[in-house]
Amino acid sequence: MNISRKEIRRYLGMKRDSEAMNELIEECVALLEKAAVPRHIYVRLPLSWKDGFPVIDSEVIESRNLAKNLEGCSEIVIMACTLGAEVDRLIAKYNVISMAHAAVLQAAGAAMIEEVCDEVNEEIRRNAEENGFYCHPRFSPGYGDLKLETQKLIFSLINLPKEIGLTLNESMLMTPFKSVTAFIGLSKEKQDESDRNCDACDMSPTCEYRQQEDI
């Protein structure tokens, strides 16, 4: 797996490459690759609509941003990915012995789970295109106005604790930490590729992490 060093630096707020930091970043990536056990699962379900909102398994999801993202879709893929519990332990360990490592591991973990999601997304895209569907950009609970409570629906549709060891706590946060759930809409029409997830996000005007071309 190729974890993007550029992404790691972006999460660390590093505006440019720094020779001094490369050794630490590489050390942390190696630790992470040893600890991570990436797992994923996805299911494909029919999607219907009610009053302009998407409906999955007879539950209406009242999110304008998701509705816009899924415009024109008749099916939906729900995906979930995790790096596993050992990564949480690794980060907790370095919180005790070295905060510098902990911060870089945190950033590298975020970059790694994105990479895992991209790979799974690519597989979903290929499968979809084989039978004439196009994928919309993936969209996760917590983006824009899509409530974190949507996790409950996802967890009721897939037995995530059993399948990939992913659990949900009372505050709708997932453990293990480095995990992602997302919706990917499938439509018969090809989408305009320039759509960016940032545009859907309330935080985008002030976001330091906003996707930029050059870091």
Binding site: L12, G13, M14, K15, S18, A20, M21, L24, I25, V37, R39, R44, L45, D57, G84, A85, E86, D88, R89, I91, A92, K93, N95, V96, I97, S98, M99, A100, A102, A103, V104, Q106, G142, L148, S156, L157, N159, P161, K162, I164, G165, T167, N169, E170, S171, M172, L173, T175, P176, F177, M203, T206
Partner: protein, 801 residues
């Protein structure tokens, strides 16, 4: 008369039932619908499910209670469970199969246990107990815990079963194709823990088909001394047209299970995708195979959440450093409740090559049982080494054994009746490998005397149902400077443990050199001698290069290190180890310091262990420890901090410097241990209720500490009341709150409101990914900490005013 389950288990083939969910789905169960609701809604369909398996010849069948717990059924769990068992009893009569056994079927909660998740261990025990109580009252014959993918949750379920009823307890867990549970445990680690907990049979179910399970079953059979159950799926699931199905048909399943039976398992059944037809044909095929009872393995094994460590022919290293004896800084850490210091001692030893960690936190003036429990919880959250729980207080031992995630070592009992009576029952309940000290009212001065005590300990253990493999004998290391015969006596005891008693041995090696100069020399040589006499485990300081050199060299010389590979990987390319240099520090650590850089440089470059060395050097020439802090550490930190603020230095560099400064501070603190230290002020830091992201808070903490503040770290997911109460009790002037999520900023606002009400003179600074200055103003904070440096600057402004 009907034979009892335990009279048949392990003596003949026993057949378990097959899948439930897949069959109920065929009967009309919708996706997302809870299967146990059918116990009340469609009792006839549930009986039909049971009877299908009873007619196929199953000996053991599951009441439909897999997910029946209070998390899924907050209002009527008891009713649901009882109905499931009652229907099973009716089905048994209607099918004319009153010889069959009904299980209370227990599945996982779907929650991750603390500390990784948010379900408390005792809460989990309570949830399982409720279900098991209901099932036992309704008349089930045994408890089957299944599909467990976490050792900790499995332990909670087993304890619940043992404490709620007298029924037999069987358990099957779910491994992936790599032979690991989802939370990381190996096959051998699972077996060690479950055998320790005295379950009646253990095994594997779900996730994989029979073919994929073979390598796992081989490992199970070669590790387990109790009967093994195998309940696979009908192959790996395939999804076609949105439908999931399992490809292995009944005939093929039967053939594969017959092969598996030949590996040496005692109970077989099926899981997802298997039907009564699978079970019927499997029974036919397996019954033709010769039944083999399980063989005892006689291996001495301890385990952690992820690994098993054998105390066998190769000596295991048990790290001795988590122990306050003779350590000022450690004692102070215990008094200050500085758990991080203790955890860091453990992690250092892990990196230095320890296999097991001894944990002793006994100090007269602290609450040892509470401290023991806290340290074990914190340690097992971050460290994969099995632990040796070391205390003379049975309450401390029990609390730690209960919440320990695995099979621990217990240090110790001796020949005295009272230690045996108080500790052996705990080992019989929770499992563990018990250290038996060869002493009685007094310490026998001959090996004969010590062996006699060892024998008595083994006999007593047997009477408590503790096998010899779960005892290691400590032949007692007495200081050689006061008795020239003492080392010889110890070595002979070790040898006779191996040759006459056939029991594993352990020694606290470092005692041998007490009172002598250059203790490392004596310890290292004595360890080599003890290893040659068959020592199975050595309690030593793995951070000491000299003793680890003796350990590795002895292993190579005693043919315990094939191709000398461990030795070579430890020492190839390293410089000769010089005879220990004269400075006290170096002889203690056995390390040879390289060229010393200036302390200032070390901190700016973020080099932690050179910074510690440089601090030691600086102390030698400095007027006072304070002048090292003010003259070198603070200016270096400021340089890095200014770089960070200017955007020329990045967060990881800032933190590396902070870690280096922390290492230097530790050295200086030790030199001032007796004199009072000045602090700039005391600050509470917490991640607010509902939020479990703590990295930002931890970053601020390390910076604050370096800048001279004492931080009261309340952790993550902290109740507003706890923060307010602490602020009032400790009279705190500044509170720092962290939140990462938009959703948890709400509880940040609540905390601020409550603080304003109850302690209006306290200042509040907030930080976290979603916060902005505007947001901070809106929720009524005094300041917004955009990063760690900004937070330090604000603290300075509060405390300097």
């Amino acid at each position: 008369m009907k034979k009892k389950f335990l009279e048949r288990l392990g003596k003949e083939w026993l057949f378990f039932d097959g899948g439930t969910g897949s069959i109920l789905q065929k009967m009309g169960l919708r996706g997302g619908e809870l299967p146990e609701t059918w116990n009340l809604k469609y009792p006839d369909r549930i009986k039909e499910l049971y009877k299908g398996y009873l007619n196929a010849g199953t000996d053991v069948f599951n009441a439909n209670t897999f997910g029946a717990n209070r998390l899924h059924y907050p209002d009527n769990v008891t009713e649901i469970v009882k109905a499931g068992v009652e229907l099973a009893k009716e089905a048994r009569i209607e099918a004319g199969r009153e010889d069959a056994y009904i299980t209370i079927d227990i599945g996982p909660t779907g929650k991750l246990l603390e500390p990784l998740g948010d379900l408390g261990f005792e809460e989990a025990v309570g949830i399982f107990s409720e279900t098991i109580n209901a099932g036992a009252e309704a008349g089930a014959d045994l408890v089957l815990i299944e599909t467990m993918n976490d050792t900790y949750e499995a332990k909670a379920a087993v304890l619940a079963a043992k404490e709620s009823c007298d029924l037999p307890v069987c358990i099957t867990v779910t491994f992936d194709q790599n032979g690991k549970l989802l939370t990381g445990a190996s096959v051998e680690a699972v077996v060690a823990m479950l055998e320790g907990l005295r379950v009646d049979a253990l095994g594997v179910n779900c996730s994989l088909g029979p073919r994929e399970m073979v390598p796992i079953i081989q490992r199970l059979v070669s590790a387990s001394s109790i009967p093994v159950i195998v309940n696979p799926n009908a192959g790996l699931p395939i999804t076609k047209h949105g439908m999931t199905y399992y490809p292995v048909q009944p005939e093929e399943f039967a053939d594969l299970m017959a092969e598996i039976a030949g590996i040496g398992v005692q109970c077989v059944g099926g899981c997802c995708g298997t039907t009564s037809e699978h079970i019927r044909l499997m029974k036919e095929a397996v019954s033709r195979k010769k039944f083999r009872p399980v063989q005892p393995k006689n291996k001495t094994v301890v385990s952690s959440y992820n690994r098993a460590v054998e105390i066998g022919d190769t000596c295991a290293v048990i790290g001795e450093r988590i122990n306050p004896t003779g350590k000022k800084a450690f004692k102070q850490a215990l008094r200050d409740n500085n758990i991080e210091y203790i955890i860091a001692e453990g992690l250092k030893q892990e990196d230095a090559g320890a296999h097991i960690l001894d944990v002793n936190v006994g100090l007269p003036e602290i609450d040892e049982p509470a401290m023991m429990e806290t340290v074990v919880k914190r340690l097992q959250a971050v460290c994969g080494l099995p632990l040796q729980l070391d205390s003379s207080d049975p309450e401390a031992l029990e609390r730690a054994m209960r919440i320990y995630n695995g099979k621990p070592m217990i240090n110790s009992v001796n020949g005295k009746e009272e230690t045996i009576r108080s500790i052996m029952p705990l080992v019989a309940k929770y499992g563990g490998v018990l250290v038996g000290l060869c002493l009685d009212r007094e310490i026998p001065s001959t090996a004969d005397g010590r062996i006699a005590v060892a024998k008595r300990i083994l006999d007593e253990a047997a009477s408590y149902g503790i096998d010899k493999k779960d005892i290691v004998i400590d032949g007692l290391c007495m200081t050689v400077s006061s008795d020239p015969q003492s080392a010889l006596c110890t070595l002979e005891t070790v040898r006779r443990c191996r040759d006459e008693l056939h029991v594993r041995s352990i020694l606290g090696v470092s005692n041998i050199s007490f009172g002598l100069p250059q203790r490392g020399i004596v310890n290292a040589h004595f360890l080599s001698m003890a290893m040659q006499n068959g020592l199975s485990a050595a309690i030593i300081n793995p951070n000491n290069a000299q003793i680890m050199a003796a350990y590795r060299a002895s292993n190579a010389l005693l043919a315990k290190d094939p191709n000398c590979s461990d030795y070579i990987s430890a020492y190839a390319g390293t410089a000769e180890i010089n005879t220990p240099v004269s400075s006290k520090q170096s002889s203690e650590t056995g390390q040879v310091s390289s060229g010393v850089q200036s302390l200032h440089q070390c901190i700016v470059r973020g080099l932690a262990s050179p910074a510690a060395d440089a601090a030691r050097e600086a102390l030698k020439t400095a007027i006072s420890p304070l002048s090292v802090i003010d003259g070198e550490i603070i200016p270096a930190l400021d340089e890095v901090g200014r770089g960070f603020e200017a955007g020329t230095t990045f967060l990881p560099q800032l933190l590396m410097s902070a870690d280096a400064a922390k290492a230097a501070f530790a050295v200086i603190k030790e030199s001032m241990a007796s004199s009072p230290q000045t602090i700039k002020g005391r600050i509470i830091l917490a991640t607010v209720k509902g939020d479990i992201h703590d990295i930002g808070k931890n970053i601020v903490k390390v910076m604050m500490e370096n800048y001279g503040y004492e931080v009261i770290d309340l952790g993550k997911d902290v109740d507003p009341e706890v923060i307010v109460d602490t602020a009032i009790r400790e009279n705190i002037r500044l509170v720092g709150l962290s939140a990462l999520m938009t959703t948890t900023v709400v509880s940040m606002a609540e905390t601020i409101k409550l603080l304003r009400e109850k302690k209006p003179d306290t200042k509040i600074i907030v930080g976290g990914a979603v916060l902005t200055q505007e947001y901070a103003d809106q929720i009524g904070a005094d300041a917004y900490g955009k990063d760690a440096m900004a937070s330090v600057r604000y603290a300075d402004s509060v405390f300097e005013s």
